[in-house]
Symmetry: C2
Subunit: 195 residues, 2 copies
């Protein structure tokens, strides 16, 4: 019933993850009624990103340059390579300020149920990257759920076969938490990995 | 830490209502990794809508044409004018198929706490529109919450002073709810029972 250009906008907004018909409609009306400059800015940002953003050829994260800023930074420890699933995970680790090495971003994780196998997560690119002769230790920082653990296991085995030192982020009780409310699996791991 | 073009996209996505930093990041990464055609389509839809969409000069809804399709439709009953708050509300009423008159879309509602007064919701435009000599009945279909009821009351008084017949959707609609989310049967009954 609405104007076709409004319908087209509502339809296009549904390509965003987690946005259904109602949310898309609300977003479209909000932009048209209250934030046309924001809509224009968003259109330009989308076009700019789609046109310019590729993947860093060393770590595979999103980057305009062939090699991203982090990979080109001589101050980073070139002997450490931290493997994460997504740029969001990488950003979370960077915010801690506690890691000074380099990254490899898988851009996914093993998930056989979704048809994502070993080839889809660029394992051969990782093996090639890790075998550059400079990297001494690969830190597996995939998520701590079933898919992430599986991914870490598969990658770990392949990397060890090539004689690389492989470590995994420590599992344990989160800082600030009370034991009473921590799940049993976490406490069991914290017991095993006590130091 | 991410590429400036990615950061710009994340920042621009935050202009969408209900989207914070985490959601924007998730949307940006999803578009770049899995749906670049969708991102391009969204950019074009945004630009098209911002450039072309104005307001219908008769009912004030979003429209590319000076007068929208619904207002130009000779099959609609020209003597009935239904006043709604938003195009989303209008769309909800239209989906019932139980109303054949015309609309006036306020594009807002009285909300003194948010600084939205009588002038901001185009009351004078409504009075002018309703006084065209053809409209015989004005049906107030603002939402059934505090602001909507207040708006209906203020509009109703002003319209009655000009000698127009004013009705309100029947209270078959559950009190406290918003039209956009009400089931169709309830809305159809409310049309029949208007008083």
């Amino acid at each position: 019933m609405a104007d076709p250009a409004v319908e087209a906008l509502i339809d296009a907004l549904r390509c965003l993850p987690g946005v259904g018909q109602k949310s898309a409609q609300r977003m479209a009306f909000h932009l048209l009624q209250h934030d046309r400059p924001g809509a224009e800015k968003l259109a330009l940002a989308l076009q700019g990103a789609v046109a310019d953003i590729g993947h860093c050829e060393r770590c595979h994260t999103f980057s305009r340059a062939a090699v991203c800023d982090l990979c080109s930074d001589p101050a980073r420890d070139q002997t450490l390579l931290c493997v994460v699933e997504t740029p969001a995970d990488q950003a979370a680790l960077e915010r801690t300020g506690s890691y000074k090495g380099l990254y490899f971003v898988l851009m996914g994780r093993l998930s056989p149920l979704d048809g994502i196998g070993v080839r889809d997560i660029g394992i051969s690119a990782l093996l090639q990257r890790a075998a550059d002769g400079v990297v001494k230790e690969v830190i597996l920082a995939t998520n701590f759920n079933v898919e992430g653990e599986t991914t870490a296991h598969v990658l770990g085995e392949a990397l060890k076969q090539r004689g690389l030192k492989v470590t995994r982020l420590a599992r344990g009780v989160p800082v600030g938490s009370e034991l009473e409310y921590v799940d049993l699996g976490t406490i069991a791991h914290a017991f095993m990995d006590r130091r």
